[in-house]
Subunit: 329 residues, 2 copies
């Protein structure tokens, strides 16, 4: 099993000429004597040499390849969202003549080194970033070297989205999604709680904002439940709140939290208690938990649109949709 | 925001020489007059031109890049396994100096066309295949053109693994995993059922084999439950079997089936009834369902080992491990 395709050297050896002569036949055939040219051309045919994409890349310095970071698999219920985005990006890039190169990196510094090597090697000419933040060294470097990129997600700073980060981004309207979830939950009772992560994460605070806006004066502190993103912790917190009473439904910042809330309600014998999640994961589907669907396919399409456009930095906010289900008990 | 890095043409224009002269300076500096050479060299420095990976590729015809197909996202509980494998492959390829290019294709014919284009373009020089089958046109073509490849999974034919498919493969020992699950379940009672898919899928039949081997004479037909891979269908089938009685535990061919069985047991008020799944997904973790972990990280390491070795086709069978949990009700 041989890994090699014929190279310029092979053609030169076969034709009994120098590598330079082969290069001349390929690039400036007019300067090569016709007898020599014919010998090189028949060597090219006999060996099946094809001036490759590598040659085209060398001429144009365009690889038409998008680099994107793939995190180590972290497990968990909601981890599937980024994978859905990468799947959608790969599927939609192909008909546009773009390729996807995935790479690993343990942190932002390692990612920067990786991006640098891929760019210097001419292997990528566009980048999709995820998990950007204020003062992100990756965005600064990408600007500096002029490599086009689009971020999935807005950079957050102290829970607030940078109003104009100076680069193209696509994000999902978390506040809008939670507002829709809250509207739905309100049909089961006025006192809808929000089960969210501890404050300070941009994404989490954005989702909480949707609940506050929809609830208005009813968004009392008692109904703001807090848990780290774990099924067990969310279950404990929901059990506490159910025992305290005065709560008709709960909207959650993630499906992980929603599974905990769902188990708490089941265990407490409260099948009428409505739980809404966020991310529309397979777990929510299996347990019949209503959940906010982020539509990563639309995110991918918007990212590709912005990545190929030559316009100044633009942004798109994708409106998620609520998937309503009947709980499985 | 400019997409272009400087090319040979830019250097030529900047130095006021022909493209051929720049090429000569890069490849055969001795034949260029020293004044001209210095002018070209300072143009190279001023423009920041780097003879790229593309040039190296052109010389060597080696891209050190692995192509792997990424399915469209199909949803479902167990879909996460292939993603975990791609994550692990990406993470482990980097320190080996290998890159991962992912591509999409709707079927085997489209994948073949895609592979052909990527190979002819010099963009990949190795392939990882998934979902191989007897008479797979992809393996035939890869052999024909001599592109090294390793398959994740054995090709199956009528439920039996091809004894010597003639190519390198890595797979997970499904029978071994289910045998371990059955041994564990037998500590709760002798009458352990197997909830599997309809016969005829290589993977499913292999898993069933592990149950039969471990159960011996106790593997009676009554304990072989059948369901398509859906939570609702698995729940219905388990409810039927629980009502019929004579069953102490159930080992399932997937976590999707296990979630259905778990819900059936919960609903029937049978918290002592043991359910074991396969794939160790986030859903199994959330519900406290014991499950067989496929260890995709070990699969990825073995695939890379075989992909870089120059040995004749080799195969590796990865032994999965059972993760034991206490059910969450």
């Amino acid at each position: 099993m041989s890994v090699r395709q014929p190279t310029v050297e092979d053609v030169a050896r076969h034709a009994g000429v120098s590598r330079q002569t082969v290069s001349n036949v390929l690039n400036s055939p007019a300067i090569v004597r016709s007898g020599t040219r014919e010998r090189v051309e028949s060597a090219i045919r006999e060996l099946g040499y094809t001036p490759s994409m590598a040659a085209r890349r060398l001429r144009t310095n365009r690889s038409e390849t998008i680099g994107i970071h793939l995190d180590p698999y972290a497990g968990g219920i909601s981890g599937v969202i980024l994978d859905r985005f990468v799947h959608a990006l790969t599927e939609q890039a192909t008909p546009r003549g773009l390729r996807i190169l995935v790479y690993a990196a343990a942190d932002a510094q390692e990612e920067l080194a990786r991006l640098r090597a891929l760019r210097e090697g001419g292997e990528i000419d566009r980048v999709v970033l995820t998990g950007t933040y204020d003062g992100d060294p990756r965005t600064a470097w990408l600007h500096e070297v002029g490599l086009p990129f689009v971020a999935f997600g807005r950079p957050w700073s102290a829970g607030v989205a940078s109003p104009s980060p100076g680069h193209a981004w696509v994000d999902v309207d978390g506040a809008g999604g939670v507002a829709a979830a809250t509207r739905h939950a309100r049909t089961y009772g006025r006192r809808v709680a929000f089960l969210g992560w501890p404050r300070g994460s941009g994404t989490g605070d954005d989702r909480e904002r949707g609940w506050r806006e929809e609830m208005g004066e009813d968004a009392v502190d008692r109904l703001r439940l807090t848990s780290v993103d774990s099924v067990a912790a969310a279950r404990t917190e929901t059990e506490r709140a159910l025992a305290a009473g005065g709560m008709d439904a709960v909207v959650c910042a993630s499906d992980t939290l929603a599974v905990g809330a769902h188990l708490a309600a089941s265990h407490a014998g409260r099948p009428e208690f409505t739980v809404v999640g966020f991310d529309n994961t397979p777990v929510a589907e299996a347990l019949g938990i209503s959940s906010v669907e982020q539509r990563p396919e639309l995110v991918a399409a918007a990212v590709l649109d912005l990545l190929v456009s030559q316009e100044p930095p633009e942004s798109r906010l994708i409106e998620p949709v609520l998937v309503v289900r009947t709980p499985v008990r």
